[in-house]
Symmetry: C2
Subunit: 228 residues, 2 copies
């Protein structure tokens, strides 16, 4: 019981910092996404394919979380955008204070888009608001159709499910329509895009989704600025 | 800081219950394994293939943990052995008290082998001793070679790594020798078995491992009983 009370306190402290981050993102017109998945679902590969398709002039940065190693940051830094690794040293999720510290020495005026790759974990990251505009859950077709039912909180809170590794569909007993219907049981308006980071399927649709969201966010930010 | 102190208290309470479980397993000559992996690495499939290959007379039972759903218990119950689902209702891992409660109405005298399938999570379950003789980490070949480096605690504490879904090796950019060498960086004496639950590769070797461990455990238990 004591533990529950303390966990609630930790979460409400996290929410306070997340609200501060959200206000900063609004002020600087930054659109922010929080990518959540199991280990090995392909978050880093998706970000690699996304960065190499960035339209000219898009000012994007990446924060990538892991318990150990800076492998992901090294993979992502090759595309020339600012990338920072957050090593959580045992913690199973990113929290808002880690994001705040990581952003402290970046000029937010120079950013339009912030992509946050969470620690590979389909459970704990969901509880920690990072001030993002939307969560994206990545599920790979090798993981079994029933994951949305087994980990409902993550699929409920996400705005978009990326169903990744579709190139493997011929080789795995995975019915993607069933996985989508399970996801819709948990979250009926969840958007779904099928993607293969290996053969490129669906990456155009995903980049259009991202462009559209950045555009909508910029319109909202401009409206708020003119109202001030 | 306060949180850290409380977490330590929770873990030491867990260790106390785990020690009690371990004593019970010893008393009743039960060999107990704790299976840990990412969501979708194939723990349930591995247990299905294991149960259908059980030698006659082996008295085995399964506890399977999930945040929601009893899908896994229903899959595993088809083989005629006692199976119980532990639904953690949000918790990202099994703990020793959950195991103790689940075992309360089973006669331990009727068991030789207890297989515990943890919640799909490569991080948190590792911290919670369940009184098991050994942890087994299941890694699938779709997850990327560097997972042992990114989640070192789990691979460090495991006695055996099952490298699952080897049937997909021709279709994924995964070098299993590299994954094994990363695992050995973290844990030089980690045993490794390559398995496909689809085409059966490696299942014989895995069942022999299990037989050997059950046999060794029975010899130890008999020695302890005669010394009493």
């Amino acid at each position: 019981m004591k533990r529950l009370v303390l966990e609630k306190k930790v979460l409400s402290e996290n929410d306070r910092i997340a609200a501060r981050l959200r206000a900063q993102f609004a002020e600087h017109g930054i659109y922010c996404l929080n990518f959540i998945s199991s280990p090995g679902s392909g978050k880093t590969s998706l970000l690699e394919r996304t960065l190499e398709r960035m339209p000219p002039g898009r000012r994007v940065a990446v924060l990538t979380g892991d318990i150990q190693t800076d492998n992901d940051a090294r993979r992502l830094a090759r595309f020339g955008f600012p990338v920072k690794q957050i090593t959580t040293a045992g913690a199973c999720h990113l929290d808002a204070s880690m994001i705040e510290r990581a952003l402290a020495d970046w000029s937010l005026n120079d950013l339009d888009l912030l992509l946050i790759e969470n620690v590979g974990n389909l459970v704990c990251p969901t509880s920690y608001d990072l001030g993002e505009h939307a969560k994206i859950v990545v599920l790979s077709v090798t993981e079994g159709e029933d994951k949305p039912l087994k980990y409902p909180a993550t699929f409920h809170k996400a705005s978009l499910m990326i169903l990744n590794k579709t190139d493997l569909l011929p080789h795995v007993p995975f019915d993607w329509r069933l996985a989508r219907s399970y996801a819709w049981e948990v979250h009926p308006t969840l958007e779904v895009i099928l993607v293969s980071c290996l053969n490129g399927e669906g990456l155009g649709e995903w980049c259009e989704w991202l462009d559209r969201k950045c555009g909508e966010s910029a319109v909202v930010a401009a409206g708020e600025a003119s109202a001030r």
